[in-house]
C-alpha cells in the first residue's frame, strides 16, 4: 500500500500552527517520536476538496531554516527531505500570522525558495483586523508566487479554501520560484531576506496612523512589577485550590467504580490465590493510581488554558529573575509547574528550553516538585500522626504540614539547582529570550484534544507499568507461602528483602514495616499506601476504607519522629520508575537517570535522617 501523500505544516512559533492542525485533522491525531531524537512527531489525516486523503504533519515552529535546537533541525530536515524515517513532503503549508508579516515572511521566503508545491495560510486575519490592519492577500500571492488563503484557525474560517488550494498543489509540480524570491533566498543573509520581507509586508498591508495594540494594554497590568506578581500568585493559588476542591466528586466516582469491579470479581472468582491476585493485586493496584486522573486533568486544564491564551510566557517573564538566581531561566517555570501534576509531562515540556545545561538541570530537579502521586501517602501519614488542631484564621495544623511539605520540595529543588549549576551542569549562564505572543481566547476544542492526549498517556501508564508493579508486589508478598502460625508478610520474599534493608534505614528512624513499604513504592509512590495496608494485614478491599484503616492502624504505632522522617523521605526520594525511564529517554543516556536516582536517594536519606534526629532531640518522640 502506498503511503498517503505527506503535507507539512510549517511556520514561526505563535503563528497558530497547532490550532490550524487541530482544525484540519480534528481528533484523528497520532503523537509519536522522530527516530533518535526527542522531538515529537504529531500527525493526522484529512481529505482534500476532491476527496483524496493526505497525512498532515505539524512541524516544530521555528524562525528560520538555520536550526538552533533539535526541534528546529527536524523542521529543516523534513522540508528538505533529509529527515530519517520521514518521506519527502508532497506539499507544504506555510502558516504566517497576518499581524506579524514583517517577521514571518522572512522564514516564508526561505521556504518558498525550496521550490516545493506550497500554499500559504494567512492566519489570524481577525486579530490583524482588530489591530486595524488590512492585508491584501492577492498582492501577497503575486509577490510570493504561491496561493495565499486567509484563515482564522481557532474559528475554523478559511479551511475549505485551504483544502481547495492544497488540492491543486498536491500532485502538481511546483510553479517556478519567482526570481526576486530566489535572489533574496540565495544570499540567505538575514539582512537581505529581512529587507525583502519588510518590503512585501509593507506593500501588502494597509495600516492606520496609530495601530491599536490590545496586548500591550493588558500587559501593563499583567506584567506590572507588583500587580502582575500578585495576579500570578493568585492564579497559582486558585489552580491548586481547584485541583483539590474540584476533584473530590470525580475521585469518589472512580473509587465507587473500582469497588463495583472488585465486588464483581470477588463474586465471579472462587476464593483463593487467583481471586487474591485479581482483586487485591491487579484491580486495587491500578485503581489506586487511576484515582489521580481527575487531579491531573484539572491541573492540565489550567496549564493548557494559560498556555493557549498566551499568559504562560508572561508567567515565565515574571519568574525569570528568580529562576536566574539559581542558574535557571524563566522557561523552566512551565515544566516545573507541570511537574506538580506529574514529573513525566514536566520533563517532556523541558524540550522548549534551548540551552542544554539549563534543560538538564530542570530535568534533574523536576522530580522534587510535589507530584500528585505523593498526595495519598501524605494524606495517610498526616491523618495518622498530625493532630487536627485549629491554628486560628481557619488554618489547620494538618493543612499547614501539607503546605510545608510542598515548600520543602520547592526549596529542595532550588537548592539542588543552585548546586548542580555550579558542579555537574556547570557552564555559561543560559539566557531568556522569548516572544510574548498576543493574547487570545483558547479554543475549547484545542483544549479538549490536549486533555484527551494527557489522559490517554496517563491511563496507558496505569495499564502497563503500574499493572506490572502491582503484580510484582502481590507476588513478592504472597510467596513463598508461610506455614501455619507464621506471618505471611514476614515470611514472604518482600519481608525478607525488607529485613536486609532494615539495618540501612534503621538510623533514620525507619522500622521493618517502612522498609517493606518503600521497596514496592520504587515503582510508583502511591503503592506505599497499599503496601502499608497489606503489611498491617488489613482485609478490606475498598480504597477509602483501606486508607481510613491504614490511618487508624498507624496512629500510635510509629513514634512521631519516624512519621515525620517518612514524610521527608517521600519529599525527596525518587520513588517512580516512569520518571527515571523518561529521564533516560529525554537525556538519551543512562548517566543522568542513574545520577538522579543517586542524588535523590542521598538527599532523601539525609533529609529524613535530619528530621528524625531533630524531632527526637526536641523530645517529640
Amino acid at each position: 500500500m502506498n503511503p498517503l501523500p505527506l503535507v507539512a505544516l510549517v511556520g514561526n512559533p505563535n503563528a497558530g500552527k497547532s490550532a490550524l492542525f487541530n482544525a484540519l485533522t480534528g481528533a484523528r491525531q497520532k503523537v509519536g517520536n522522530y527516530p533518535g531524537v526527542t522531538v515529537e512527531r504529531k500527525s493526522g489525516r484529512f481529505s482534500l476538496d476532491d476527496g483524496r486523503p493526505v497525512e498532515l504533519v505539524d512541524l516544530p515552529g521555528t524562525y528560520s531554516l538555520d536550526p538552533g535546537s533539535p526541534d528546529e533541525a527536524v523542521t529543516r530536515d523534513v522540508v528538505t527531505g533529509h529527515q530519517a524515517g520521514e518521506r519527502p513532503p508532497a506539499a507544504i503549508v506555510i502558516v504566517v500570522d497576518a499581524g506579524n508579516l514583517d517577521n514571518h515572511l522572512r522564514f516564508a521566503l526561505q521556504l518558498v525558495a525550496l521550490g516545493l508545491p506550497t500554499v500559504m495560510a494567512l492566519n489570524m486575519v481577525d486579530m490583524a483586523e482588530r489591530d486595524g490592519l488590512t492585508i491584501d492577500a492577492e498582492m501577497l500571492a503575486r509577490e510570493l508566487g504561491i496561493p495565499v488563503v486567509p484563515t482564522v484557525a481557532v474559528r475554523r474560517r478559511g479551511l475549505d479554501e485551504l483544502r481547495a488550494a492544497l488540492g491543486k498543489a498536491v500532485g502538481s509540480n511546483a510553479a517556478p520560484v519567482a526570481p526576486e524570491v530566489a535572489e533574496a533566498a540565495e544570499h540567505s543573509s538575514y539582512t537581505a531576506l529581512q529587507r525583502r520581507a519588510r518590503a512585501i509586508a509593507a506593500a501588502a498591508t494597509t495600516r492606520p496612523e496609530v495601530t491599536r495594540d490590545a496586548a500591550e494594554r493588558i500587559d501593563r497590568v499583567l506584567l506590572h512589577p507588583v500587580a502582575g506578581l500578585a495576579i500570578l500568585l493568585a492564579l497559582l493559588f486558585v489552580m491548586f485550590q481547584a485541583v483539590f476542591a474540584w476533584s473530590e466528586a470525580p475521585i469518589g466516582w472512580i473509587e465507587d467504580g473500582f469497588s463495583v469491579i472488585q465486588g464483581a470479581a470477588t463474586d465471579a472468582l472462587p476464593a483463593g490465590l487467583l481471586r487474591s491476585l485479581v482483586v487485591d493485586g491487579l484491580i486495587a493496584g491500578v485503581g489506586s493510581v487511576v484515582v489521580f486522573l481527575p487531579q491531573i486533568l484539572i491541573l492540565f486544564l489550567f496549564i493548557l488554558v494559560l498556555e493557549a491564551s498566551g499568559y504562560m510566557v508572561r508567567a515565565a517573564f515574571l519568574m525569570d529573575k528568580l529562576m536566574a538566581g539559581v542558574g535557571l531561566s524563566g522557561r523552566a517555570f512551565i515544566p516545573l509547574l507541570s511537574s506538580f501534576a506529574c514529573a513525566i509531562p514536566g520533563i517532556m515540556a523541558t524540550r522548549t528550553i534551548d540551552d542544554p545545561k539549563d534543560r538538564l538541570t530542570t530535568i534533574l530537579i523536576a522530580p522534587l516538585m510535589t507530584c500528585s502521586a505523593r498526595l495519598p501517602v501524605y494524606a495517610v501519614i498526616i491523618g495518622a500522626f498530625i493532630p487536627a488542631r485549629d491554628m486560628g484564621y481557619g488554618i489547620g495544623l494538618q493543612g499547614l504540614v501539607l503546605f510545608g511539605l510542598y515548600i520543602a520540595g520547592i526549596l529542595g529543588a532550588m537548592a539542588a539547582a543552585f548546586i548542580l549549576r555550579r558542579t555537574v551542569t556547570r557552564g555559561a549562564a543560559g539566557t531568556f529570550m522569548m516572544e510574548l505572543p498576543r493574547y487570545q481566547w483558547p479554543d475549547p476544542r484545542d483544549i479538549l484534544i490536549g486533555l484527551a492526549q494527557r489522559a490517554w498517556i496517563f491511563l496507558r501508564r496505569a495499564g502497563t507499568l503500574i499493572l506490572a508493579a502491582s503484580l510484582l508486589l502481590w507476588l513478592l508478598l504472597s510467596f513463598p507461602q508461610a506455614p501455619e502460625g507464621r506471618s505471611q508478610v514476614e515470611y514472604s520474599a518482600a519481608g525478607r528483602i525488607a529485613s536486609v534493608l532494615e539495618p540501612v534505614v534503621r538510623p533514620i528512624g525507619f522500622n521493618h514495616e517502612i522498609a517493606l513499604a518503600i521497596i514496592p513504592a520504587m515503582a510508583a509512590r502511591e503503592v506505599a499506601v497499599a503496601a502499608l495496608g497489606t503489611v498491617y494485614s488489613i482485609e478490606s478491599d475498598d480504597e477509602t476504607v483501606l486508607e481510613q484503616t491504614v490511618t487508624e492502624r498507624l496512629s500510635g504505632r510509629w513514634p512521631l519522629p519516624t512519621a515525620l522522617a517518612f514524610l521527608m523521605w517521600f519529599v525527596f526520594a525518587p520513588q517512580c520508575l516512569s520518571t527515571i525511564a523518561v529521564i533516560r529517554r529525554e537525556t538519551n543516556s543512562w548517566r543522568w537517570p542513574l545520577f538522579a536516582l543517586g542524588y535523590l536517594f542521598v538527599l532523601a536519606y539525609i533529609a529524613a535522617g535530619a528530621t528524625f534526629w531533630t524531632a527526637t532531640a526536641l523530645g517529640l518522640g
Binding site: Y63, S64, D66, G68, G99, N100, L101, D102, N103, Y190, T191, Q194, A215, E216, D219, R220, L223, P225, V226, G228, L229, V313, A316, F317, L318, D320, K321, L322, A324, G330, D354, D355, A428, T431, F432, M433, M434, E435, L436
Partner: protein
C-alpha cells in the same frame, strides 16, 4: 542622544544605532536577528521584570520580545524626540 536599550524610558520610540554582536553569545545573536533586531530598526521598551528591572520586554516591528538586561546592554539606540 545615544542610550543603551535598558536605559531607554518606557514606551518611547528609538532607533537601533548599533548592536555589539560579538558581546553576546552566537546563539543569542542568532535569536536577536530572528526576532528582527538590526541596525536601523525602530524599537520601544514596554515593560520590565519585577526584580532589578530584569528581564525587559521590547517592541520590535509588530512583535513583543523578552530579553535579559545583559542582552539589552549590548543594544545601543538613539531616542526619538518625545
Amino acid at each position: 542622544m545615544i542610550l543603551r536599550l535598558d536605559e531607554l524610558p518606557l514606551r518611547r520610540n528609538a532607533t537601533v544605532s548599533a548592536i555589539d554582536w560579538d558581546g553576546i553569545g552566537p546563539a543569542e545573536a542568532k535569536r536577536l536577528r530572528e526576532f528582527g533586531f538590526d541596525e536601523g530598526v525602530v524599537v520601544q521598551k514596554l515593560h520590565t521584570g519585577p526584580i532589578g528591572s530584569d528581564p525587559v520586554a521590547c517592541r520590535v516591528g509588530r512583535m513583543t520580545v523578552a530579553l535579559r538586561r545583559r542582552v539589552a546592554l549590548a543594544i545601543s539606540v538613539t531616542g526619538h524626540e518625545a
